[in-house]
């Protein structure tokens, strides 16, 4: 049998449109201190550290090397980094704990979207020969997906507006969120998507601590056990994929055991309202599931942390007894190209 591993603590910044008053490490460090304090652990007690970030956001190569200043990597630490959302850093840390070489792990993700124009920056993710030279921005690509859903009869603009309104209303209870309460749907950014259908652009960071077996029980009253976690990628070309579906999400969910029993909560990394429609279908979430009680990515979307935050939010609900079995999802790439699903559970009460 595999080793039991749990999320035992979660912390995040207040997510803001801009954080030009602080450097990346100045933004990140309080979150690292917060998550350590929750468990009483010190950096030296952590067996493995893994982070996720992207140089392209802030326009600086090796930005993660400076972020390491906030960890206190002395004496030297066992540490790794993915150029991906922190959710995948958590996945790497989970595999490290599975090997038995580590009992605790610190995982963090951070991103500053404010220095650049994130719509343009993300075009650099696209096929560099046939697509990137056209500079199709991230909202445009999501809008192509949204129109495909509308054409397929799977949603319409009022339904998308309802997703937006529900998300921001939920975020009213989330003091960290960037967009909270009633937010106007606004004009078309790229039709059929309006301002309200798009995530806010902002800066932020998040961190979690993982622990295995008895160590998790010692450090956390109600650990959020990772019952399964898996991620899958799809073909890159948008014209090759069925944009109304997310087979990679469905497969990852199957592998993570999401369909074995119903979940009560789902934190979905759906930056655009239309993507929640796709994900709900792929994950077979019905009206009984509390979707994005945090407000989700429509309320705060710090790139490279937003996926990790979904896992952290789901875990935090289990920690405080608001959920017994939760699903968390993270995405990467244009139009949900790559997806990660984790299933978290608390011990029976």
């Amino acid at each position: 049998m595999t080793r039991e591993i749990a999320v035992i603590a979660f912390a995040q910044t207040d997510h803001r449109r801009t954080t030009e008053d602080v450097s990346e490490v100045e933004m990140l460090m309080p979150v690292l201190h917060d998550v350590l304090e929750q468990t009483g652990l010190k950096t030296a007690d952590i067996d493995f550290t893994c982070s996720g970030s992207s140089d392209y956001l802030a326009g600086r190569a090796f930005s993660f090397t400076m972020a390491l200043d906030g960890v206190g990597a002395w004496p030297p630490i066992s540490e790794s980094h993915v150029e991906m959302d922190g959710a995948w850093a958590l996945y790497e840390a989970w595999t490290k704990l599975l090997t038995g070489d580590a009992d605790t792990a610190l995982v963090y993700g951070y991103g500053k979207s404010s220095p650049g124009s994130v719509r343009d920056v993300l075009t650099r993710q696209l096929d560099p020969y046939y697509v990137a030279p056209l500079w199709p921005d991230s909202v445009a690509l999501a809008a192509l997906q949204a129109q495909a859903l509308i054409d397929a009869g799977e949603t319409d603009e009022p339904a998308l507006a309802a997703v937006a309104a529900r998300s921001r209303a939920s975020a009213a209870a989330n003091s960290r969120a960037q967009l909270r309460g009633s937010v106007p749907q606004g004009d078309y950014v790229v039709r059929p998507l309006r301002t309200g259908d798009c995530p806010p652009v902002g800066d932020g960071a998040a961190a979690v601590i993982l622990a295995a077996g008895e160590r998790a029980r010692e450090l956390c009253e109600r650990p959020a056990w990772i019952r399964g976690i898996d991620h899958r990628i799809e073909a890159h070309g948008l014209g090759v994929r069925d944009l109304t579906d997310s087979p990679s999400t469905r497969l990852a969910a199957e592998r993570a055991g999401a369909f074995e029993r119903p979940v009560d909560t789902a934190e979905l990394h759906a930056p655009f309202t239309s993507q929640e429609v796709v994900l709900r279908k792929a994950l077979r979430l019905d009206g009984s599931v509390n979707v994005n009680p945090s407000g989700g990515a429509l309320a705060a979307h710090p790139l490279m942390a937003a996926g990790l935050i979904r896992i952290g939010e789901a875990a935090a609900r289990i920690h405080r007894g608001a959920s017994d079995r939760a699903l968390a999802h993270a995405t990467s790439g244009p139009c949900l190209q790559q997806n990660l699903v984790a299933v978290l559970e608390g011990d029976a009460r």
Partner: protein, 315 residues
């Protein structure tokens, strides 16, 4: 709180991209107003032609000509075109399945407004006036109700095949160095060097980065260091590099300098002494030029050299 600085940061480079054979044929074809797809082993035709089958991962090279006319499979109206996008006036982004293809190509559609666009509409390629072998040789698509043209069944072999593209990429950022470095930079304008002391280990960091890297805690207490310091180690630079300060005559000395009171060396050029007389332990002081943010270089103070023991921890 001290004034926090910001400044524009432009990241720009003309990337040179070499092409594999399928890409080379496709982009050369566009130059010649021919659209090519590629056939998979199970008979699908992929346009744009990719090098590897997205389903089976097999390498595919079997080129086939398809029509420059096709059907919109989805679209999105872009009311405010951005830099680099195919059209400067409002247009629709479209995925177009060309006649004869099983997959769709992403491009722009020139149409008078969103009401003139719908999924399923027929469109054709509008060729760019000047074509070089790039995806932008398709200027855009345009609505088209006519019949498909006769295809010659092009083989994909052309004269003067395009083997590479230059992909200029410019991204504009606003850089902000954050709280600690802003304080350091602001002090430099008074020709003062100000670091920050770690509240835990008491080490003074210059330039300060807001955190003590070994303790992982915020630094806040300012500490002025220098102006004099000690050369801890150095190298003699004999080549000019385009990206470095190129107005400096070689050879020159690039040194690590521990300013008095700092627990970390910073880097600078040594002047006012023949390059081959610079040595570890040399005592130096900054030389400023008008209007410069940083000292132009450091020169000997004339003090006796510092003993190795006093700076060996600062190499």
């Amino acid at each position: 709180m001290p004034e926090v600085l910001t400044a524009p940061l432009v990241v720009e480079f003309p990337f040179t991209r070499s092409l594999g054979p399928v890409q080379s044929a496709f982009l050369t074809g566009l130059r010649e107003r021919v659209v090519l797809g590629v056939k998979t082993a199970d008979g699908r035709t992929l346009v744009p032609p990719v090098e590897y089958d997205p389903v089976t991962a097999e390498e595919i090279r079997d080129l086939i000509e398809v029509a420059p006319i096709g059907t919109v499979t989805t679209w999105a109206w872009n009311p405010a075109p951005r830099r680099g996008q195919p059209l400067g006036t409002p247009f629709a982004w479209v995925l177009v399945r060309l006649d004869g293809a099983d997959t769709a190509l992403l491009h722009a559609l020139d149409a008078p407004g969103p009401d003139a666009v719908h999924t399923g509409m027929r469109v054709r390629v509008r060729w760019a006036q000047e074509r070089s072998g790039a995806i932008t040789d398709i200027a855009c698509f345009e609505p088209y109700e006519g019949d498909p043209p006769e295809l010659a069944g092009h083989s994909g072999r052309f004269e003067n095949m395009v083997t590479g593209i230059v992909a200029p990429a410019r991204l504009d950022y606003v850089y902000s160095p954050g709280r600690a470095q802003s304080g350091y930079i602001n002090a430099l304008s008074d020709r003062r060097t100000v670091g920050e002391r770690c509240p835990s280990c008491r080490k003074v960091y210059v330039p300060p980065r807001g955190a003590c890297p070994t303790c992982g805690v915020a630094t806040a207490e300012q500490a002025e260091v220098g102006p004099r310091g000690t050369v801890t180690t150095y190298c003699i630079v004999n080549i000019k590099a385009a990206h470095t300060a190129s107005d400096i005559e070689v050879p020159y000395v690039y040194a690590h300098i521990a300013l008095d009171g700092a627990d970390l060396a910073l880097h600078g050029r040594i002047g006012g002494i023949p390059y081959d007389q610079v040595r570890m332990g040399l005592r130096v002081e900054p030389v400023w030029t008008a209007g410069a943010r940083y000292p132009d270089h450091y020169r000997p103070t004339g003090e006796p050299d510092a003993p190795y023991e006093t700076y060996k921890e600062l190499l």
